[in-house]
């Protein structure tokens, strides 16, 4: 994974001013996860967010007496984590690498503080997160129809 390419090909920085891009580059770090390794646990403090460069991440929920349920998988180019942006800043789901995964990790509080003073960055961050959230909401609604199930929805 080339960190610079990963960031610059992301909608997060598309059309963003050079200073704000430089800020994101300055606070981003490369994180690597082995297959099966947790990025974060459900209900833990949401202190950062991730931009997947390589590999695949699964959002999962623990259920009694069985393996965790995979809620959604997230691949290269996509953001992992929304809860860092809104109070109470705790993860709703656990995230686990399903394959060897490399990602850029951004510190949530630092990005939020910068957004408070940088309207252009704030617009890009909130718009990118909103677009991703809408896409996942749309996807979830269609899956709720259980299209492949026994009965016609």
């Amino acid at each position: 994974m080339n960190p610079e390419d990963t960031l610059r090909s992301s909608p997060l920085v598309r059309g963003l001013n050079a200073d704000s891009i430089a800020f994101l580059e300055s606070v981003a770090a490369v994180a690597e996860f082995g297959a099966g390794q947790l990025l974060f646990e459900e209900d833990s403090a949401a202190e950062s967010f991730y931009l997947v460069g390589e590999g695949r991440v699964g959002l999962e929920a623990l259920v009694p007496a069985g393996p965790a349920v995979l809620v959604e998988t997230i691949g290269p180019g996509a953001l992992v984590g929304v809860s860092w942006l809104f109070p109470p800043f705790r993860w709703s789901w656990a995230a686990r690498a399903l394959a060897p995964t490399k990602a850029l990790v951004f510190p949530g509080e630092a990005v939020r503080r910068r957004c408070d003073a940088d309207a252009d960055l704030a617009l890009h961050v909130y718009r990118t997160v909103a677009e991703e959230a809408v896409r996942r909401l749309h996807s979830t609604r269609i899956r709720l129809l259980d299209l492949y199930g026994d009965r016609r929805p």
Binding site: V69, E72, H138, S139, P153
Partner: protein, 283 residues
């Protein structure tokens, strides 16, 4: 409306030909693939995407897409999901049982129009069955196709069809194959999410792409819209519509869909030709 019987259907098209079950594969808890051989001189040649009328004597007749290799003469493959009285009876057939088969009927996937283009095949659930012959045919013609991709969505990992095929396609350098399910546990190796989530994973040039899409109609609409957003022209997106086919030759009108009789002008149609009708309630 005037319909003429095509020359290839000038033989008694309402007469079922006896076929014997020679093999079965239990695909999922409610879906079975059956292999048939003809007991007469009727040798069924078909185009990918066509269907037959399959008659269980004393129970009833249903339209079933052909799921086998179009190049293997003398072998007819159907994959059937048990959802009603006739399909439950079909799924209960055993080797040696005899059924009546008419056909093939309907249009096929326009695989003769994909030379020099990217071919993107998107299947949802049992919709992989009518697309399987197209995948086989596309792999046969692989050198004439630029990029060949297959995206497959299913309910759970246990609902995936043709598991041996899936393993082969995943390993093949000739086709980009991605699979996703709606629900899974953490031991699942594939993706979880909507099949359109897989579009960014495969290579295709939108203005040079033809797409074949088959699955529940909601899924086909969603995929067609996602492809339109990606830049694929609706004229180049083909869908397969399921309606109440009965005679198979455009005579009885059971499958009338607006101005079309789908057993003759379908089941495969350009999305641009049917998109408006897909929005009509109860059509």
């Amino acid at each position: 409306m005037t319909q003429t019987i095509a020359p290839e259907q000038s033989w008694a098209p309402m007469l079922p030909h006896p076929y014997r079950v020679v093999g079965t594969v239990v695909e999922t808890q409610d879906t079975v693939t059956l292999l048939f051989e003809s007991l007469s001189d009727h040798q069924l040649r078909f185009r990918p995407g066509q269907f037959t009328m399959l008659y269980v004597y004393g129970v009833g007749e249903v339209p079933i897409s052909i799921a086998g290799n179009p190049h293997l003469g003398g072998q007819l493959v159907h994959t059937v999901r048990a959802v009603g009285a006739v399909t439950r009876a079909i799924c209960g057939l055993r080797p040696g049982d005899v059924v009546g088969i008419r056909g093939p009927f309907g249009t096929g996937w326009p695989i003769d129009q994909v030379a020099g283009r990217d071919l993107l095949i998107v299947a949802g659930g049992i919709g992989l069955a009518p697309l399987r012959p197209a995948v086989i045919e596309a792999l046969t013609q692989r050198e004439s196709i630029r990029q060949l991709s297959l995206l497959y969505g299913a309910r759970t990992p246990n609902d995936l069809l043709y598991k041996d095929d899936l393993i082969g396609w995943k390993a093949s350098p000739s086709i980009d194959f991605e699979v996703t399910v709606d629900r899974a546990h953490s031991d699942w190796w594939g993706d979880v999410g909507l099949v359109t989530n897989l579009l960014p994973r495969v290579r295709f040039q939108p203005d040079r792409t033809t797409a074949f899409v088959c699955g529940p109609e909601v899924m086909m609409r969603v995929v067609a819209r996602a492809l339109r957003t990606a830049g694929v022209h609706e004229d180049r997106v083909f869908v397969s519509l399921e309606r109440n086919m009965k005679c198979g030759i455009g005579m009885c009108g059971h499958c009338q869909y607006g101005s079309d009789l789908l057993c003759r002008t379908g089941p495969v149609a350009p999305y641009s030709a049917v998109a408006d009708r897909l929005k009509v309630d109860e059509l």
